[in-house]
C-alpha cells in the first residue's frame, strides 16, 4: 500500500482529491433501516407460518421450527426463480440475505447462473457454490456448541 502511494504523481493525487469530493456517499443509515424493516417483515412471515403449523397441524412450538424453515426456504427459492427475490435483495441488502430465505436464494441463483453448463457439471457441481460455506460453518459451529454442552453437562455445570 505504501509503495503504491509513492508512485502516485501530483496530477493523480489532485484527481483523487477531486474524485473524493464528487463521490456519492453510501447511505449507510438508510440501508440499515431498509434491511431492518425488510428483515423484520420476513421474520413476521416466518412467525405467521409457525403459528399456522401450530394451529392447523399437530406441531408443538419446538417442532414447528423445522417445517417453517423448509417453507421459508422453498418460498424464497420460488421467488428467486421468478426474479422477485433479486429485486428484494437489491432494495434490502443484508435484510434479505441474513434470514434463512437468503440460503434458498444463494442455492437457486447459483443454479440459474450455471444452467448453461449442463445439469451434472453445471447445476450439480455449482449448486452449493455460495451456500456451501453456510452449510460447512453451520455444521462445524453446531458440532462445537454440542461439544461444549456435552462437556458442561458431564461436569455438572448445567
Amino acid at each position: 500500500m505504501a509503495s503504491n502511494q509513492k508512485k502516485v504523481t501530483p496530477q493523480q493525487k489532485s484527481y483523487q482529491h477531486l474524485q473524493q469530493k464528487h463521490e456519492i456517499k453510501r447511505p449507510i443509515l438508510k440501508n440499515c433501516i431498509k434491511a431492518f424493516f425488510v428483515g423484520g417483515i420476513i421474520c413476521v412471515v416466518g412467525q405467521a407460518i409457525t403459528y399456522f403449523y401450530i394451529y392447523f397441524f399437530n406441531f408443538t412450538e419446538q417442532s414447528a421450527g423445522n417445517p417453517t424453515v423448509a417453507t421459508m426456504v422453498f418460498l424464497s427459492m420460488l421467488l428467486t426463480g421468478f426474479g422477485v427475490y433479486d429485486r428484494i435483495g437489491q432494495f434490502a441488502g443484508a435484510g434479505s440475505a441474513v434470514p434463512v430465505t437468503g440460503f434458498g436464494n444463494a442455492v437457486i441463483s447459483a443454479c440459474i447462473e450455471h444452467r448453461t453448463e449442463g445439469f451434472v457439471l453445471g447445476v450439480g457441481g455449482n449448486i452449493f457454490k455460495l451456500a456451501g460455506s453456510v452449510i460447512l460453518f453451520g455444521v462445524f459451529s453446531a458440532f462445537v456448541v454440542a461439544l461444549i454442552k456435552t462437556l458442561l453437562t458431564m461436569w455438572g455445570v448445567i
Binding site: I54, Y55, T60, E61, Q62, S63, A64
Partner: protein
C-alpha cells in the same frame, strides 16, 4: 404492475373484512395472539372447583407468566401458561420453579407443567369443547392424557 397492485389491494380488503366480520370469535381462534385467561377445566367429578382455582391462582402469582390454563383429571393435572417476552430466555428455570412450588404445596398430586403454545391452545380448545357439550367427560379425560403425553415427549 397495475394488475399486481390492484390484486394486493383486493387481498388486503378481503383479509380486513374477513377479520372484522366474526366479532364473537371463539377464544381458541385468538389464543396464540391475545390473552384469553381460560377458566380451569375439571374432568374428574370428585374434585372440587375451589381446589383447582386455588392451583390456578398459585401459578398465576408468578410475575414472569400470564394466561394460565389448568386441566384437572383423574391421573394428573396439566398446567400450561404463556411466558412474558422478556423472560423467555429463562423458560426452563421458570418451569422448574413452578413445578417445585406445586409439588411442595400439593405433595399428593401429579403435575405436568408446560409453556408450549400448542399445549396451551389445545387446553383452551378442550375447555371450549367441554363447555359447549361437544365432548363427554370420558373423552375429555382421554384427551387430557394425550396432552400430558405430548408434553412429556417435548421435554
Amino acid at each position: 404492475m397495475r394488475k399486481i397492485r390492484s390484486f394486493t389491494v383486493m387481498v388486503c380488503l378481503v383479509l380486513l373484512t374477513s377479520c372484522s366480520q366474526n366479532q364473537t370469535a371463539k377464544n381458541s381462534q385468538l389464543a396464540l395472539i391475545k390473552t384469553t385467561n381460560p377458566s380451569p377445566v375439571i374432568t374428574d367429578k370428585s374434585v372440587k372447583r375451589n381446589h383447582v382455582e386455588a392451583i390456578k391462582k398459585d401459578v398465576s402469582s408468578f410475575p414472569q407468566i400470564y394466561d394460565v390454563a389448568v386441566i384437572k383429571g383423574k391421573k394428573g393435572t396439566l398446567i400450561s401458561y404463556k411466558v412474558k417476552h422478556l423472560y423467555r430466555f429463562r423458560m426452563k428455570q421458570i418451569e422448574k420453579d413452578i413445578t417445585k412450588m406445586l409439588e411442595k404445596k400439593y405433595p399428593k398430586e401429579n403435575f405436568t407443567v408446560s409453556s408450549d403454545y400448542k399445549i396451551f391452545l389445545e387446553t383452551v380448545r378442550l375447555d371450549e369443547k367441554i363447555k359447549s357439550g361437544k365432548i363427554s367427560k370420558k373423552k375429555a379425560e382421554k384427551r387430557l392424557q394425550e396432552l400430558i403425553k405430548m408434553t412429556e415427549d417435548i421435554k
